[in-house]
Subunit: 350 residues, 2 copies
DNA sequence: TTTAGCACTCGCTTTCCATGAGTGCTAAAG
DNA sequence: CTTTAGCACTCATGGAAAGCGAGTGCTAAA
């Protein structure tokens, strides 16, 4: 049930016109844009067919046509010209990503803002560890004064976290040092459950003061490892929506913006194996996204982590431009987190 | 030029009615709410006076009155009943703030979201060091493998930051240890400019490899100290605006939301000495805030830092409720960052 | 000083009409 | 069989007119 070339061309014109103008497009306009090789009447016949086949929709009997989700899908799969980014734009993307070495979370949230600015739609980003079980790789306890010390830990996915611990009782720096050794010998490379078991096991070997410090450290470590498993999602540029004609209705805008602010966890994630995924209107399972489209790409953070970066917009979004820019950003991020360069993958601060 | 008690009472009724309903309030409604002790005609005379004096405004000849900024100001200064939070609400606030010890930035941004939820208006938060010049207090270099090591630094305002450094060349762990001593003896307690001077001074004393590592560390330290000086502002709950009748006009909503997203630095800050500040409509110097009111409070983060927490809403905001909740939060935060308890002031992770 | 009465104002909603872009259908032409 | 011109028809949109009603200001009486 393939469409004729002319039908496809007409569909393409309709979609691109609608993307640009956000208004139903009529036969006359199409005829004009196709160079006058056919008359509007012919177009009308074709439009009628396309409508019947479900690629177009008519808001009401007798106004121009509007693409249906099915139409967009065909467009995205076959008709859309894969846009190449200009050199200047690639440059700009890399510039936007060229920030000082900083904490991972900060980097990706900034990347989210940059993407949103670039594509003029709301964007969302996240990063998560690929490993099932992240464990502690290295501990250090640094005495600060006699009542507090800093716990530094490095995780299996090369993140560094630290935390100031307050002590109830004075502890001797030398004892702290021996405790550090204990931590590194017995509490690295195991999951949190095992950590707690071992904590119990050593309870008799050391003084109560040290045990208190130890258990504080272990509990902190458990928190960090816990947190490493789940990804935090950042959204940016939700207000871009208000610019769009489809969100002039405050109710709609409110609904979607609240979703972006409070239900980010339910935003689509990319498929495991493909670098990019496009979801059009009702293809989104999520109620709040029924009338919107989502483009989401993935990128690598070193070898152990993986991130996602996505854009939310009206179904009438400029898929070509968004997809191109998004993969530009994804590539840029992957490169930036790559092991070769100085700004390295897992660096950050606690 | 003091108002009679009855005029004040009428003004109060008008404002509270308008706060609740967002619609001009008429003489009849006022008479009703005042218990029928006077007739609507009397009220009309009084309203006429109040309008002449500038406390009220008339959208057009012949619909109810609306409070003017001057009216709100009188209300806030004299008429408003200082609301006390119920025990249940204080409880809720403390519960919202009772989070795990975490990085400072995360804590306050979460507090921002909590406030916004509580008062149903957008909120903003920030924290900044009180000191003019923050210096490094303690360094540690921890070798991870033969090509990378972690730089941990503690700043004068008790924040701990760390960073993974990649090395070009192999460095011996013992040398690293001696470098740590050098850092602590010569690069603590001085500002960044002085640090760079001293870096130059030692360039001849040590091997080129070590010097490279040292300069990486110093440059990182400079970044951190730089950053400590300026506060980052977080906003939350901007979408709350769309709920309000005064922002049903998408244009207005867009303007303010963009301001909250992109120009947060220009949001009002509290006065040095008073714990809370209320700015009504045109009292805001900022163009984008002309039609809104801002309530902003300050809180202490230990002894060295100070934070702010504010709410943005329509001039018709419920000042009493917002002020009460805001100071509840500010108190809660101050207490939470206080030195007494376990979740301590400056703790965080890099 | 307060109140009742009354004419008047003016924004809001509804109704109605004209307009025009765009369609579907038919019949003729290629 | 495809394309095109012609034409009647549909329907969203915008503006004008009309009715409604909440609320006012003013006057005169209590």
């Amino acid at each position: 049930m393939d469409l004729t070339d002319r039908k496809k061309q007409i569909l393409k014109v309709v979609i691109e016109d609608y993307i640009a103008k956000a208004e139903p497009v009529g036969s006359k306009a199409i005829a004009g844009e196709m160079g006058g090789s056919v008359s509007s009447a012919t177009i009308r016949n074709e439009l009628s067919d396309l409508t019947e086949l479900g690629y177009l929709e008519q808001p009401h009997t007798s106004s121009g046509r509007v693409p249906s989700p099915k139409g967009y899908r065909l467009y995205v799969n076959e008709l859309m010209e894969r846009q190449r980014l200009s050199v200047a734009e690639t440059e700009k993307i890399n510039q936007a990503l060229h920030m000082k070495m900083e904490e991972l979370d900060r980097v990706i949230s900034q990347a989210g803002r940059a993407v949103s600015n670039f594509v003029s739609y709301p964007a969302y980003v996240a990063a998560a560890s690929r490993r099932k079980h992240v464990t502690a790789r290295h501990f250090d306890l640094l005495p600060v004064d006699d009542r507090s010390c800093i716990a530094v830990m490095m995780t299996g996915d090369e993140r560094v976290k630290s935390q100031l611990l307050r002590l109830q009782l004075k502890v001797d720096p030398e004892q702290v040092q021996s405790l550090t050794k204990l931590l590194n010998s017995r509490f690295t490379g195991v999951d949190t459950e095992e950590m707690n078991k071992r904590l119990m096991a050593v309870s008799e070997e050391i003084t109560p003061q040290l045990f208190l410090l130890l258990s504080q450290t272990v509990s902190y470590a458990a928190d960090v490892l816990e947190e490493a498993g789940q990804k935090e999602i950042y959204t940016a540029g939700a207000n871009q929506l208000l610019r769009l004609p489809e969100f002039q209705d405050v109710g709609k805008a409110h609904e979607l913006m609240s979703f972006l602010a409070d239900d980010k966890e339910n935003l689509p994630v990319p498929d495991e194996n493909s670098p990019m995924k496009i979801l059009i209107g009702p293809e989104n399972v999520n109620q709040a996204l029924q009338d919107t489209s989502v483009v989401v790409a993935s990128y690598d953070i070193g070898d152990d982590m993986r991130g996602l970066i996505g854009v939310v917009g009206p179904t009438r979004m400029d898929y070509g431009a968004v997809a191109a820019r998004l993969s530009g950003f994804a590539d840029g991020l992957t490169r930036m987190f790559g092991t070769k360069n100085l700004p390295p993958k897992g660096e950050q601060e606690t």
